[in-house]
């Protein structure tokens, strides 16, 4: 594997490094390339996320947190100087095999440091069941880009604070972010400083193979970087899909909790989808056992009551009876 070595420079805004991945994928000869980078506090949205629904934009602006979008999929990620970003560019079309190769390789690297890391089928890397690295994939013709986080240290409250906890998410038609249990290399007792870890990763993975990224290359990268700031790509507010759900209700069920309900209907008045949000206690599979069975049901009290009769709401939401579920929906 070849290390793409930037000359010493101050940390750039995050899209510079995403552009560097694209530049490598589009212009360098087939092969395996790697580089590692760090950025000042930044939130990175997935390609198809509704930014204003997922991110507390005002909070980020107030705190000086940069807000950008990547071309790979998935949920929002927060990064700062305590977090390493790894970029891996390779030839090929086989998404799953490239992903597996990458997560196995990085897990082995951590194990070489005495940290018991394991790749998961969902393309993350876990230590004792907690996520230390999350990865995303961007596919270009004949080339694959895998990039991901590697938490050296973190403040667990930060990601939660930048992500929007409100019911706005319910209304989002984009890809949603999911909070997860995370850990860091520092919490796992890594014996290296961040700088030492960064150097170790490059040495372990690339074993001295290097391609210098020169001034001409950087000019090409900067040209690609510009695309990431175009309003059409960044889309902080996405008007066309900011459509309100057909039905939006707020209710309170004594002893159970508060509910925000969003229902989207098809033209024939049957349910296309239902979302539930609130402070109630979920004890079952809310999608499979409560919401999905309601899809296709005509949006009327008697039809809904009949459909609900076949369900066990109290097995999914603690204390919720069938009549109460009906009142939440209509």
């Amino acid at each position: 594997m070849i290390h793409l070595a930037l000359p010493p420079m101050a940390s750039r805004r995050l899209p510079f490094y995403l552009a560097m991945e694209e530049w490598a994928a589009r212009t360098l000869p087939p092969g395996e390339y790697f580089f590692s980078w760090r950025v000042k506090p930044t939130v990175i949205c997935g390609r198809n996320q509704e930014m204003d629904k997922e991110i507390d934009l005002e909070y980020c602006r107030r705190e000086g947190i940069d807000i950008v979008r990547r071309r790979s999929g998935g949920g929002a990620v927060y990064a700062d100087m305590e977090n390493f970003m790894f970029s891996y560019i390779t030839s090929g079309n086989e998404i799953q095999s490239v992903f597996s190769h990458y997560t196995v390789m990085i897990s082995e690297m951590l194990r070489a440091l005495g940290i018991g890391a394991e790749p998961t089928g969902r393309n993350d890397i876990l230590i004792n069941g907690q996520k230390v690295a999350g990865n995303a994939f961007y596919h270009l013709p004949g080339r694959c880009i895998v990039h991901g986080t590697m938490l050296y240290d973190f403040d667990p409250s930060t990601l939660q604070r930048v992500l929007t906890p409100s019911r706005a998410k319910l209304e989002s038609k984009g890809v949603k972010s999911a909070p997860q249990r995370v850990t860091s290399l520092k919490a796992q007792g890594i014996g290296l400083s961040p700088e030492e870890f960064g150097r170790f990763a490059v040495e372990y993975l690339c074993q001295g193979n290097e391609r210098t990224v020169g001034p001409d290359d950087i000019a090409e990268i900067e040209a690609i970087e510009k695309k990431y700031y175009e309003p059409d790509f960044l889309r902080e507010h996405r008007q066309e899909s900011g459509k309100e759900p057909d039905i939006l209700r707020h209710s309170f069920v004594d002893g159970v909790g508060e509910f925000d309900t969003a229902v989207n209907l098809k033209p024939d008045n049957t349910i296309a989808g239902v979302g539930l949000w609130g402070d109630f206690f979920v004890i079952g599979d809310i999608n499979a056992d409560l919401l999905q069975p309601l899809e296709g049901v005509s949006y009327g009290r008697s039809e809904l009551a009949k459909a609900i009769d076949a369900l066990e709401p109290s097995a999914v939401i603690k204390g919720l009876t069938k009549p109460e579920l009906l009142n939440i929906l209509i």
């Binding site: 198809n48 071309r71 790979s72 999929g73 998404i95 995303a136 994939f137 013709p141």
Partner: protein, 122 residues
């Protein structure tokens, strides 16, 4: 309907001067569960070989390239509500319907036989 493919796995099904563009079964299986299809708008002009949208799955995001030039007559709104249709039946789940500007562009594409052969080389 005749069907043609790009090496990047987009297909175009051709009915006279109307084309239906989607992604092949191979692409759908590679991507896994599709979570979002980023589509152009009606009236947009597509250019052969140029990016016109993107498809996101639980595994990856991939750009979409247009097999031909032409105007978007319709986008498949069903995919906005149910992107998994791409997995269920990729060849039925067309993404955009276009008015083909120049049928001669089809000659540069792979037919089914050539595409099947191409898949064996991957």
């Amino acid at each position: 309907m005749e069907i043609y493919y790009l090496p990047t796995h987009e297909y175009i099904k051709v009915d006279g001067n109307i084309g239906y563009i989607g992604v092949s079964e191979y692409a759908a299986s590679q991507l896994g569960a599709v979570t979002y299809v980023d589509m152009p708008e009606e009236g947009d002009e597509l250019e052969a070989g140029e990016e016109f949208g993107a498809i996101e799955s639980r595994k990856a995001a991939s750009d979409l390239y247009s097999p031909v030039s032409g105007e978007v007559l319709e986008v498949n709104e069903e995919l906005a509500d149910d992107p998994k249709l791409v997995n269920n039946a990729p060849l039925d789940a067309w993404i955009v319907k276009v008015k083909i500007a120049d049928s001669a562009e089809l000659e540069g594409l792979m037919n089914q036989e050539a595409y099947d052969k191409y898949l064996t080389t991957l």
